[in-house]
């Protein structure tokens, strides 16, 4: 029953999407468009909730539920299982597309009718592509002929609260760029540069997409940190890179839009970035879902899917970039500006971000290119990215500290240096104190800590002084970046790792703490059994700091072992314990990490997200006006 209804709803949303495309392209009728966008929104919403319902009631006549769920699974993970697999996640993707579609429609008024309908036409095309992809190659509503008593279970490493909400947030990010793409295409197609303030419409969508992408990536990192048990939170995995690249493009886009707003310059550039952000999102999806790049994110592999997505990306890309090649010259202008100004700093930020994006892109695809030409399999990993992308970013971060306080036009250098020198000296002082405390020296560490305080202090100063309301979001987001850099530097430079074999009652020293292995017990969870190690942590005065209980879980239904790291967090450091293999007589392998300042990564990401949302609220007001 569910499968028939689900298929019906899927095809119904396809019908509405095609209807919307035709109405917008050939008739320009507001009334019909309203029917189409609303119908699309409701039908895709219902199909998504229908699948979720099938998971909640464990309807194993649906192949997708049978393959990914089990009656013993906790309810929240039954719900999140609906998007924890390829087919279901495409349904979520379509639903979010239609939500953005509806928001685009809401921009409609008498003056901008042509423009909005053109954007909706493009959006409808994107939606048709994704619905066809889902219905034809990844249909979540396939029936199983024979009756099944229970499901096959769900990959237990996905059974984690951070991962349950990671895909929806990330998809809001990716899919948000579809609306930005549609607006860019509409602008180029109509080339009514003067009449429509297209950048005003584009900005809130960029802000939403970028903010949610930030928080979505951060949650993915949190998951990797807690669940994979590798002690780190970022691995330059192809899938991580696939989300990082649109984020970088989004960052450049966000800053360039300010230039369009204030100076009417960089318009061609912004239109290109708007196209690229979404194209990179789709290409990223292609790389992940086709299986041509191997990573920790394995989705079910199917070559026909890869060919479909690639063909679709080709259609979108060729259409938009041909349009760009033909029409964008009308948006060129000759507004030159001096380097030492706000414009200059934004332009510099743009260049750096794009170079970093290109570097990541090259590193991610390099193994594929090598394979094409030489048939050798190589892998590009952390050392490449850390030694290229990271140093390139440093000057941009330095500029970021002063960009917001630079004036438009031309800044007087001497006055300006007088203005920034107190903060500059103060940052050096804080860095110095910091190192006195940590007693650990590293060149990159010094630079990282200095830059983070440089940004934090500059932005705090702006916050303390009265600032214009429209800048509040930007300042908060920049503050978040400073905090994020503090966390990244601390945890990557001063991480201490100890891997040893421990028997019960053994003790080990890590930094100022001593960790005692008290006991090991068997425990039973809702759908797993586990060995739980019990460790007590003492500080140098022999006070008990905490008890840590890392687990080795075994999920009998899927026959998978997972490790649950146990972590004690405070503002200065994380203590992170992973229980490895072992037995009573020989002892267990135990990995203990001392990760300084990790929590600031999460606080920073959240602050950036908040900044984006504050900006978003401000920009929405502009549109409603």
């Amino acid at each position: 029953m569910i499968t028939y209804l689900g298929n019906f709803l899927l095809w119904l949303s396809l019908f509405f999407a095609i209807f919307q495309f035709i109405v917008c392209r050939y008739y320009n009728k507001y009334k019909f468009t309203k029917t189409a966008t609303l119908g699309l929104l409701i039908s895709s919403l219902m199909s998504f909730f229908l699948l979720m319902y099938a998971y909640i009631v464990s309807d194993f006549s649906v192949l997708n539920v049978f393959q990914n769920s089990h009656t013993t699974k906790p309810l929240i993970y039954k719900i999140s299982a609906a998007w924890g697999n390829h087919e279901g996640s495409m349904l979520l993707w379509i639903f979010i597309l239609t939500v953005f579609n509806y928001f685009l429609f809401k921009l409609h008024n008498k003056k901008n009718s042509y423009f909005v309908l053109k954007a909706l036409e493009t959006q409808a095309f994107i939606i048709v592509g994704f619905i066809l992809f889902t219905a034809l190659t990844s249909n979540p509503f396939i029936r199983i002929e024979s009756e099944q008593s229970n499901g096959l279970g769900f990959n237990p490493i996905l059974q984690d609260p951070a991962l349950a909400i990671h895909p929806p947030l990330l998809y809001i990010g990716y899919v948000g760029f579809s609306a930005v793409f549609s607006i860019s295409v509409a602008t180029l197609a109509l080339d009514q540069n003067e009449k429509i303030l297209w950048h005003v419409y584009m900005k809130p969508f960029v802000l939403v997409a970028w903010s949610f992408l930030t928080i979505g990536i951060a949650l993915g990192s949190i998951w990797a940190y807690y669940e994979l048990g590798w002690g780190g939170w970022w691995f330059w995995d192809p899938v991580e890179n696939a989300s990082f690249m649109p984020w970088l493009i989004g960052t450049a886009l966000l800053h360039s839009l300010i230039m369009v707003e204030k100076k009417k310059s960089l318009q061609t550039w912004v239109l290109l970035l708007a196209i690229l952000a979404f194209l990179l999102s789709v290409i990223g999806t292609f790389l992940v879902r086709s299986g041509i790049l191997t990573s920790v994110h394995t989705f079910a592999l199917d070559p026909s899917r890869g060919i479909y997505i690639l063909t679709f990306a080709a259609l979108l890309g060729i259409y938009s970039l041909v349009l760009y090649g033909l029409k964008s010259k009308k948006f060129l202008n000759k507004n030159y500006f001096t380097f030492f100004s706000k414009e200059g700093s934004i332009l510099f930020n743009n260049i750096v971000v794009i170079v970093v994006c290109a570097t990541v892109f090259l590193g991610t695809l390099y193994p594929l290119l090598v394979e094409i030409f030489t048939n050798n399999k190589i892998s590009v990993g952390e050392p490449y990215f850390n030694s290229t992308a990271v140093p390139i970013m440093l000057p941009a971060i330095l500029v970021m500290g002063i960009g917001p306080i630079l004036a438009w036009g031309k800044e007087d250098k001497i006055i300006f240096f007088k203005k920034i020198s107190p903060i500059f000296l103060f940052s050096i002082l804080v860095t110095f104190l910091f190192f006195l405390n940590y007693k650990s020296y590293s060149a990159i560490g010094i630079v990282g800590i200095f830059l983070s305080f440089w940004i934090i202090l500059n932005n705090l100063l702006i916050l303390i002084r009265k600032i214009k309301k429209n800048l509040l979001g930007m300042v908060v987001a920049h503050l978040g970046i400073g905090v994020l850099i503090l966390g990244i530097t601390g945890s990557s430079i001063w991480q201490i790792e100890k891997i040893i074999k421990m028997k019960i009652k053994n003790e080990i020293q890590i930094q100022e703490y001593s960790v005692v292995f008290n006991n090991i017990t068997e425990i039973k969870g809702p759908n797993y059994v586990a060995l739980q190690g019990i460790f007590t942590v003492y500080d140098d005065q022999k006070n008990v700091i905490t008890k840590l209980t890392p687990e080795n879980r075994f999920y009998p239904i899927t026959k998978i072992f997972t490790t649950e790291a146990s972590i004690h967090t405070n503002l200065f450091r994380d203590l992170y314990i992973v229980l490895g293999k072992g037995n009573l007589s020989d002892g267990w392998i135990v990995k203990i990490y001392h990760n300084p300042l990790v929590i600031w990564i999460w606080i920073g990401s959240l602050t950036i997200f908040l900044g984006g949302m504050i900006s978003m609220k401000h920009n929405m007001k502009k549109i409603i006006k």
Partner: protein, 179 residues
């Protein structure tokens, strides 16, 4: 000069597409993932047999002649689709095919084989999915070629179709010639 730059993104994108299509279509099929077990001996296991009274013992089944190992289940639709090719291997080409029935109900499987025909010389029951884990199976159907020394020579993830059917034949001929 300046305006020509604006078509550069398009050119770059097209080059990228060519590379991707090349990898996807010509160069490499993601269904033929090089298995970690490639050129290694088959995993040792013991299981109940669906069609014989005595136990299915891997050392007795493998290592005597070239054969195909096919992971299947009745609940899996693609397995039904590829069944015709499995039958062609065993009846037309006289290649021994060993089935491994993945997480399934034996009664249903017997009925399924009765309806569609049984191409398998023996079928191991993998009720818990343990055998599949040892073979590194991604998802069913999945098919392996094992040579007469019990060494895995090829792996196919996903159903067998006309193209793969021919390819497997070529590989088996090659192994026969080498031996």
């Amino acid at each position: 000069m300046k305006k020509q730059i604006l078509i550069l993104p398009l050119l770059f994108f097209i080059l990228l597409l060519i590379a991707f299509f090349y990898i996807l279509v010509i160069e490499r099929n993601p269904s033929e993932i090089p298995s970690n077990l490639l050129n290694k001996n088959v995993p040792v296991f013991k299981a109940d047999s669906l069609i014989k009274k005595e136990k299915f013992i891997s050392s007795k089944e493998f290592g005597n002649q070239i054969l195909l190992v096919n992971f299947f289940a009745t609940w899996c639709k693609p397995c039904r689709d590829e069944h015709i090719y499995i039958k062609r291997f065993s009846s037309n080409l006289n290649i021994r095919v060993v089935g491994i029935n993945y997480k399934d109900d034996p009664k249903k499987t017997l009925r399924w084989l009765k309806n569609l025909g049984n191409p398998y010389s023996n079928i191991a029951l993998d009720k818990t999915g343990k055998i599949a884990i040892e073979w590194g199976v991604y998802g069913i159907p999945e098919t392996f070629i094992v040579n007469s020394k019990g060494v895995i020579k090829y792996r196919r993830v996903g159903p067998i179709n006309e193209k793969i059917f021919k390819k497997i034949n070529i590989i088996i001929d090659k192994i026969n010639n080498e031996e």
